[in-house]
Symmetry: C2
Subunit: 291 residues, 2 copies
């Protein structure tokens, strides 16, 4: 993935990502607001014309104000609804706060978030506050700056749901996609626990996706990949994979999901009981990657 800023060719400043030298996606940058090199990565905040403020890590666009709901609703609600009574929720990564915010929408949830790079939380709180919407200051949320794996070792069996909201499998996040990591996750989960992880683009990172799902299958008896849209990501399609010790993601009825959304007054713009169900049937060209 290469980032460029072809200032004159397209008119103004752009952020481009080029996939395998053949497929490019760009967003018009109105202002480059912030840039810092942290011990873990290069962090930038852009204001873009189409998507509002955007978080960019190591030249890869992570999330934007306008489309963050598509990703965060799908990584949080599908797993939270798969578990009948999610209380102890561990979020690994997710420094923009969009995942934490959706977990906190469940009245019974007591989330712990472990983010390795404090600068991500600080920059997002300051420059894109609409994503976390105050969640980092919610008294029900515990935020730890540190290593997610260490935190899991110290809390064996402690979690109902683990949400791995990481960057792609390059750079600081690469360990979060390997089998030993999922073994640590499994030990940190209760006997009926669930993990969900973002699992790359079937269009652009098919081999990474296949390897990750293979790793999860080595550890969890129930593994299902589902799809969602993330407009600001190249190709627009994103996958998420659930590893579960007991519950089937399609074991919860649409009626139960609707009741739980209503009970906690959870408002959504992407996720619905029917979208939950409709996210799991994989087109054969995607299923074939995982066969």
């Amino acid at each position: 993935m290469t980032e460029m800023a072809p200032a004159d060719v397209f008119g103004g400043d752009w952020h481009f990502e080029i996939e395998r030298e053949g497929f490019a996606q760009g967003v018009r940058v109105l202002e480059r607001i912030f840039r810092v090199t942290t011990p873990f990565q290069t962090l930038e905040i852009f204001d873009t014309k189409t998507f509002g403020r955007a978080l960019v890590l190591d030249d890869a666009l992570q999330t934007t104000e306008r489309d963050e709901f598509t990703y965060h609703e799908m990584i949080v609600h599908v797993s939270m609804m798969t578990h009948p009574t999610p209380r102890r929720v561990l979020i690994i990564g997710g420094g923009d706060g969009g995942t934490l915010r959706r977990v906190l929408e469940y009245a019974s949830a007591e989330p712990v978030q472990v983010e390795i790079d404090r600068a991500v939380i600080d920059a997002c709180k300051r420059y894109i506050p609409s994503i976390s919407a105050g969640s980092f200051d919610n008294p029900r949320a515990q935020v730890v700056i540190g290593d997610g794996v260490e935190h899991m070792h110290a809390n064996a069996g402690g979690f109902d749901v683990v949400i791995v909201d990481s960057t792609d499998p390059v750079g600081p996040a690469v360990q979060l996609f390997a089998t030993p990591f999922y073994q640590s996750v499994a030990r940190s989960l209760a006997d009926d626990g669930i993990v969900v992880a973002q699992s790359s683009s079937p269009l652009i990172m098919a081999e990474a996706m296949r390897q990750q799902v293979t790793n999860m299958r080595e550890v969890f008896p129930i593994v299902h990949t589902y799809l969602g849209l993330v407009p600001a990501y190249p190709g627009g399609l994103w996958s998420y994979t659930i590893g579960s010790k007991r519950y089937e993601p399609l074991g919860v009825s649409p009626e139960t999901i609707a009741e739980r959304l209503a009970r906690d007054r959870i408002q959504t713009r992407y996720y619905t009981p029917e979208v939950h169900r409709g996210a799991f049937p994989l087109p054969p060209f995607v299923a074939d990657i995982l066969a």
Copy 2:
């Protein structure tokens, strides 16, 4: 939508489309194979690195060898399966032949295709033959070069399914999105007939989509929009809308769809009975466009 070829900035030749000056998608062009200005549009054939051969009309990428199946399977199979016994099928547009090919997979189908621009069929047969796969020479197919509306006027009540496989609502296709067109379609359909039309991107052309669906609702008692992925289109997401006189698209059971696919030995890479069902639940942010 603007097309550019920033030869040096990205390395080599690229085809870019820029949406509303804020969002760009590009494909690396290995060779510009063919270009002609027809009475209706500018037609180009590119060989691209990521998607193979591509058809480009008036600077807008229409279809590619590698991802054409996503669009063509979703525009054809959902409507064909909604009708219990589709025999007389009218295809309007679709000069690349990918729609005709999928309609011919139904043993009972007797398709008529009306394409206004002969050059599209000729160029696609010659330069991207894998899309039509010989369908234009199938004795069951009748191909007419001409105006789809005129053909419908001459065949009132004659069709079970009408498939509007057009370019976007600019240029030669603009009339194909207006209410008078759908009134013509309705007259051309049998009492239990169905029309399906590509209905733009909810991400990039939300207002065009809304207007088109509004027009269809003025004419058909049953109107449903569904979503699919088209990786080579900006944003990756595409919508299709069915207008139906009698049959509900979700009225056909997954078991019946599976039986009909098996009976005609139809192979798919995107469409399945479960994908059919999963394509209709619209995320609220899309449903709100049509509310």
